[in-house]
Each structure stands twice: as C-alpha cells, then as structure tokens.
Amino acid sequence: MTPLSSPEALRIDVAGLARRSVASLYSHLVTRPTGRAVRLAIESQLAEAGEPSISLVDFSQVTILDFSCADEVVARLLRRYMPDDRPRDAFFVFRGVQEWHEEPIQVVLERQSLAAVAQVADGQLRLLGTVAPEEVRLWRRVEEARSLSPDSRNGGGLALEDLAVLGRLISRRLVFQEPEGPLHALTHLLGEL
C-alpha cells in the first residue's frame, strides 16, 4: 500500500555533515558542541524539506560516538520533533548504528524515555530506547506488513489493547499514520534511500 501523502524522504550522512558543519579535520562525533552543530545542521536540512518528512540519519561512516554527541544528535533531535508544537512534522530512522554506537544511543534515549527506529550492525531493524514489549510486538507487526489499513486494524485480529498500543506508537512517532488513513512502517516510507 503506497501512502497517499508520502513524506519527503531525506538521507542525512552524519559523518559528512560533521565534517562540513564543524571542521573538516574532525572525524569523530565527540563533544557536545560538535553534536549540537551536527543537530543544527540536520534541522537546517529539515527546514528546507517538505512536510511531513522522513529522514534516514546515517551513522555508517561514524567511528566514535560519545554520550554527549549521542544526546545532541539523537535524543535532543527526537525530543525537539516530538511535541505538538514541534518546528516541523518530521520522522527519523537511524541507520548504520554499529555495535559500539548502540550503548550511547540507548543510554541517552532511556534517560529521556524516548525510542527510535534503528537499523543496527547486523542489518536488523530494532527499536532502541525505552520501549515496552507490547510496543515492540506491534511495531514489528507494522514493519512486517509495511502498512496497515484502518480495516485491517479494526478487523485484522487486533485486540482493543493492541489498538491502544498502536496509538502509543503513533504518538511516539515510531510509525506514520496518514490522516484518518492507514499506518505505515517508517522504513517503508524511506523508499530507495
């Protein structure tokens, strides 16, 4: 099922952005000012994109990611686009999250009770951060189905509790819902990125 109002998909190369926005000599994502500069550069890209947008934030070329940078580039970025008064309607998927990136990202997300969709080192898609088991189960179901129509949600064997969990996934921006329409897995919206 193709979304009617498909979000604009952006690919954000974090390492490249760090080199361009901070200093060409910095090859690692360390220190809070570096993280802040990268986050602001991401926000600047988002400001030029359409709405809604879905960004593939790519850590593939990042070797070192410290906790301060993870806080800025992942947690603060998500937190900024989470509330109703967010600057823009934006969704995020994190790619190229290596084994050694996972802990900083997990820690900073948990500290703010946030969650994010991430493609980790083995290529698997995971939810990082604070997530309940039932959220993981429903999120996987949406990922596998790629999309869930309102009919399939209501008549597709989903219990009432599941609908409540889906509501949480929507409000946590871990899945995308068209207005009054179907749900889509975020990765489904990335297209060819």
Binding site: A23, H28, V30, T31, R32, D66, S68, D71, V107
Partner: protein
C-alpha cells in the same frame, strides 16, 4: 627556598601527598625536589604540573623542579611530553632528550585540554596508538578502542564543562607484574578549575545545607549523577565512565578539594572516600584499567 621532597614513587598512590604539600608550603619560592623519584606515572606527572601551576599562581614565580637522578626517569618524562607541558609552569633547567627512558610506546603524552578541538585531537591521536596496546597488551576486544576513546572524550569534556579552566590528560600502559601480575593502563586528568563543589554549588548546595562540602559534592556527582546544568538530561559522562571502568574491572577515583571518592575494585586497597585533604583547587581524576586475565585450559 621552601623544599617539597617528592616521593620515590610518584604515582596515583602518592600524588595527593604532593598536592597537599603544595598547599601547605610556606609563602615564597618552592623547590619540588625530584632527585629521589625512581618511578613516575601519568598521575604523578600531571599532578606535578598541577602543583606547579598552583604554586606559580600563588607566588607569581614558577617553582623549581629538581630533576630525578635516576638515569631513565627524566627521559621517560620527556617522552611523555612533561617538559614541554611544564614550560612556564615549572623551572626545569635543560630538558633531557626524548629518546631516554626505554623504548616503550607512549599511549597518550601529556596533552593540554582547553578547547573542544583538544578533545578531538586526543581522540584522533589514541586511534593510532591505543588499538594494539588495548588488544595485544591488555587483551581487550578490538572494539575496546572505541569505548576507551569515549572514556577519554567524556573525561576531557568534564574539564571543559565543569572546571571552566584548562587541564591536562595523559595515559600510558605499564606492566604491573609484581603488584597485579598483569599490565594496566593508567589515565590521568587534572585541572585547577572550580572543582565539583564550586561547579555544583549554585544548583544544589541549598538542599544539602550544612552538609555541603567537597565530599558531598563528589558524592552528588559521582554516585547520584547530579550536574550543574538545570537540564536533568545531562550529567551522563561520569556515570558512563564509571560503568565502563567497572566492566573492565578497573578503578576510578576523583579528588576535588579536600576529598577523593573512588570506585574500588577487588584488586585495589584504596578507600572509597577520603576526606581531610588539603584544599587543592580543581579536580584530579585517576583511572586504572587492568589487562584481562588469560583464560586457562584448552
């Protein structure tokens, strides 16, 4: 001239004595007498710079450093970048050649930290030197170089974000065959800034009332993760450093002012909290990471 004799082993166990002696030294020019120093580690060297900086700030004149007589120690200190870092802080006389003191590789020579660019430089530098030491000497997994870099980054940022003053970092690996039967990696960080009490006071001192002091400030930051920033999501650095150091069965201790707090592993006999030290400014952090014990059997 007031003479402060330096201990023969100038390392993480004795450096607090040197800092205390610097505070206690009478007014007037000081001689830091290193003639009998036979062993020095990064904590000793960075501590010596801190003592020198403190004394120079008090008198306006750099204290004199009497070079160790041991044939290998001055050369080793030179290779760790001690004499370069000491320029303007200590009067050392003619520095020895960097080629003396054996041929062991320097992991991270004494590096001043005053900007974020310095932290990037430290992380870049250890990428090329730490990998083989961590994996071959300490038997850590290959990915440990990443966690080690993150520790260094966070510990250096602690200087920039909390001390509001420059500091130094240094690291080196040693064979502690007699003491522990293993190699260890020693990291030393020191600054002469506001210290933990000064950094946390505006935000947290009121709730501690009369109990507020160096030890309570250290406990607040080290154990409870409090930070000077009102944003409750910050202050993860020290907690994450502690977690990683514990995983590697290492020790970490922080002195600030009159107290030193520590996570003490089984192999160490240091107390978890010391109070009643002399009020030395800033913060001094020691981290010791022991090598992994090789698995026995087939």
């Amino acid at each position: 001239m007031n003479v402060v004799p330096l201990p023969s082993s100038l390392d993480y166990r004795t450096v607090d004595e040197v800092l205390d002696a610097a505070v206690q030294a009478p007014e007037g020019r000081v001689l830091l007498d290193g003639r009998h120093v036979r062993w020095v580690d990064p904590n000793g060297m960075v501590g010596l710079l801190s003592a020198g900086q403190f004394l120079r700030g008090r008198t306006g004149v750099p204290p004199r450093f009497q070079m160790p007589e041991h044939p290998e120690v001055p050369g080793y200190m030179a290779r760790m970048g001690f004499f370069q870092a000491a320029e303007g802080i200590l009067e050392t006389g003619q520095p020895p050649s960097r080629r003396g003191g054996g041929e062991s590789a320097v992991l991270l020579e004494i590096t001043p930290i005053s900007t974020n660019a310095d932290v990037h430089e430290v992380v870049d530098r250890v990428q090329s030197t730490a990998g083989s030491i961590l994996s071959e000497t300490l038997r850590y997994p290959l990915s440990a170089v990443v966690q080690f870099s993150v520790i260094l980054s966070e510990v250096c940022q602690n200087i920039l974000e909390h001390a509001e003053a420059p500091g130094w970092v240094a690291a080196q690996a040693y064979n502690w065959q007699k003491r522990l039967g293993r190699h260890v990696l020693v990291i030393a960080v020191s600054d002469l800034g506001r210290g933990f009490r000064g950094s946390l006071a505006p935000e947290h001192s009121a709730r501690f009332g009369d109990r507020w002091g160096d030890a309570t400030a250290l406990e607040a930051a080290f154990i409870h993760g409090l930070t000077r920033f009102p944003d409750s999501h910050r202050g993860q650095g020290i907690q994450q450093i502690r977690k990683q150091v514990r995983r590697w069965e290492g020790s970490i201790s922080i002195r600030s002012g009159t107290a030193r707090i520590a996570d003490v592993p089984e192999w160490d006999d240091s107390p978890p909290l010391r109070e009643g030290l002399e009020p030395f400014p800033g913060a001094q952090i020691h981290i010791i990471l022991p090598g992994r014990v090789p698995e026995t059997g087939s």
